[in-house]
């Protein structure tokens, strides 16, 4: 089940040509090998040799061309195109990374209250030989798998399982790694009945208080509260072509532009790419993806993820439990853009009376402010 992105096509087209030439070359090699000892075709072989060399150089040239083209295309992706890459069905998911960037994975199941949500995967694994707790959203690749995993949209059980796993990690002093990749928490009847909002809220508060290092990586789609619920970390990283947003571009477009087809404009307005979010202080580090995106080279993407996680965790494990909590608090406490009061206002009431805005002369006091 592969899906081609429109802007990838020129590269894919080149790569198909290269593939064909390679097959052609391989075919000739074989032919050459079988006829070589027969001697009588020596002359023909010589002739083939020259065309073989031409073929080789043509392949080389095309490969170079493909590389340049890929570089060009992927260095200039629009935000909307990045959204497409982030959602690519061949992009590595949590379980892929658990097989490649981690070792010795043991999955843990269930929220101990209601059920097990396959849209979130939790378990113990080793990162370069050290045990960690890994928690990540999990999408499916096939229709059947997607139905089971609910397209990576967790229900309350998923968040409760995640928080439970985090507390297990905390109890045993293990660092926590979360991998974020969800369109959002599931908006359904059952989810509401079982307290979706409360489950997410508990995760946010619970994560803030964890006494072990937490590193989160947005590996694909960071869809709103359903993503943030496992993203209250000491360090928040993002893969180069992943996205993180308060609302999907489609959702934003249908509300603010009154038309979901304006998703492209909404994606620009929302500033949801890794460089955007780094500039806003929401993301600490961007992990470079293989040329052409993580979906083009899973092993390389996994190596880079492993490397980045290892670097961050090596620093964080040096911190004391209380320092970790304070560090996380400071990190999120600082996020937001306000004016005229970014500094806390704890002036005594007397001082406040005079300190009101022009717009609201009586604002120092609530009483009778509406005159």
């Amino acid at each position: 089940m592969s899906r081609e992105l429109e802007f990838e096509r020129p590269v894919l087209e080149l790569e198909r040509q290269i593939e064909e030439l390679r097959r052609l070359a391989a075919g000739r090699d074989q032919l050459a090998a079988t006829v070589a000892d027969e001697g009588r075709l020596k002359k023909k072989k010589k002739a083939d040799g020259t065309s073989m060399m031409q073929l080789e150089s043509q392949i080389l040239r095309l490969e170079e061309q493909a590389l340049t083209l890929k570089g060009q295309i992927f260095s200039r992706l629009s935000r909307w195109q990045i959204v497409q890459v982030a959602r690519h069905p061949q992009r590595p998911y949590t379980l892929d990374y658990l097989q490649s960037a981690f070792a010795d994975f043991v999955e843990l199941h269930g929220d101990r209250n209601f059920g097990d949500d396959p849209a979130i995967v939790c378990g113990l694994a080793k990162l370069k030989g050290e045990s960690v707790m890994v928690i990540g959203h999990q999408k499916g690749r096939t229709t059947a798998e997607n139905l089971r995993r609910n397209f990576g949209m967790p229900r309350p059980e998923g968040y409760r399982k995640a928080l439970r796993a985090m507390r297990v990690a905390e109890r045993f002093g293990l660092p926590i790694v979360t991998l974020i990749d969800t369109p959002g928490a599931y908006p359904g009847i059952g989810a509401e009945e079982r307290g979706q909002a409360q489950a997410i809220a508990e995760c946010l508060e619970g994560m803030a208080a964890l006494k072990v290092p937490v590193v989160s990586v947005v590996i694909g789609e960071g869809g709103s509260g359903g993503a943030l619920a496992i993203g209250v970390a000491n360090r928040v990283l993002m893969l180069e072509f992943s996205i993180y947003s308060v609302i999907s571009p489609e959702g934003c477009a249908s509300i603010l532009f009154k038309d979901a087809s304006h998703a492209e404009r909404a994606a620009d307005a929302l500033k949801l790419t890794a460089p955007d979010l780094t500039a806003l202080g929401v993301v600490d580090q961007v992990i470079k993806e293989p040329l052409g995106g993580a979906h083009r080279d899973h092993p390389l993407a996994a190596r880079r993820l492993q490397e980045a996680l290892h670097t961050e965790l090596s620093e964080l494990v040096k911190m004391k439990p209380t320092e970790l909590v304070d560090d996380r608090y400071r990190r999120f406490r600082a996020l937001g853009a306000v004016t005229e009061g970014a500094v806390r206002e704890l002036d005594p009431p007397e001082a406040q009376k005079g300190g009101s805005t022009k717009r609201r002369p009586a604002s120092g006091k609530t009483k009778g402010a509406r005159t």
Binding site: V246, F257, R360
Partner: protein, 279 residues
């Protein structure tokens, strides 16, 4: 209500609506009865006939909930910036200016210290008329300040929620307010003082999915719509019509999401009693 009345009502409704002069009379959205607006106001914006709860402005909320002459506003000057330079059909800051004008408030949240039956508390409320009570950086900041103040002054915190959720125009920064406010609660828990969250109509999205549902005690006003996803989103997702009363306070009580439903006129007494037990 008998079905006969129900059948007869639409015509009457249409005619009467047009003839009710604004300001003097107020028609109830619940039972349709027309009452003297002053009486509705005296009943804290509830219907004198059926008890239906109208939405109440933030300032009126604090004025009627806290002891008279005890209220001092905190962070009144906080206003949003626009680091995303967000523009849809309008520029974000233009929307903010328009909202400031129409809601007569600088932002969607009012924070104050005051007294409840003599006990010093920190109280905050949304102003739903300001961009649907959406939570951006200023709201997140003030909610966080509420818990920091509570911790510092060793006082209980009560917050009234009325919000459609995160403010899209502040993008990821509005999302981060969920983490910020929830982290602040986590610290406040050490104070030994309670946080009572009062859910009013409507409380959804990022506000529900953060501090509003983290109260030590969670109270809802009757008939308030509270949930993670709004009903329209759910209907579009599951392609079904939702049952009547879905996500309303009574539904939440049934499903164990909240502690109690308390009518607006009883909130002062009930919450004072809670603080009496807990603080």
């Amino acid at each position: 209500m008998s079905w006969f009345k129900r059948m007869a009502s639409p015509k009457v409704k249409g005619d009467e609506k047009a003839s009710v002069p604004t300001g003097v009379w107020k028609r109830c959205d619940g039972c349709g009865a027309v009452s003297v607006a002053e009486l509705v106001k005296q009943a804290l914006e509830t219907c004198p006939q059926c008890g239906y709860h109208f939405r109440i402005g933030g300032r009126d909320r604090l004025r009627t909930f806290l002891d008279p002459d005890s209220i001092y506003e905190v962070g009144a000057r906080l206003e949003p910036l626009d680091p995303l330079e967000f523009k849809d059909q309008k520029r974000y800051l233009d929307r903010v200016r328009a909202a400031q004008k129409s809601a007569e408030e600088p932002e969607a949240f009012i924070l104050a210290t005051g007294r409840l039956k003599g006990r010093p508390i920190v109280a905050g409320t949304f102003e739903f008329r300001f961009m649907g009570g959406s939570m951006g950086s200023v709201v997140g900041e003030k909610v966080t300040m509420a818990f920091e103040l509570g911790l510092e002054q060793k006082a209980p915190v009560v917050l009234f929620s009325a919000s459609g959720g995160a403010r899209m125009q502040e993008g990821i920064l509005s999302l981060m307010q969920m983490a910020k406010t929830s982290a602040a609660i986590s610290r406040f828990r050490e104070s030994g003082h309670p946080f009572v969250s009062v859910l009013t109509d409507p409380t959804t999205g990022g506000v529900a999915a953060s501090f509003a549902l983290l109260g030590d005690i969670i109270v809802a006003e009757p008939g308030a719509l509270v949930g993670f996803a709004g009903p329209r989103v759910i209907e579009q997702t599951i392609r079904q019509t939702l049952p009547a009363g879905f996500q309303r306070s009574e539904f939440l009580l049934d499903h164990g999401v909240i502690d109690m439903i308390v009518g607006r006129r009883d909130l002062r007494d009930r919450i004072a009693l809670l603080f009496d037990h807990l603080s």
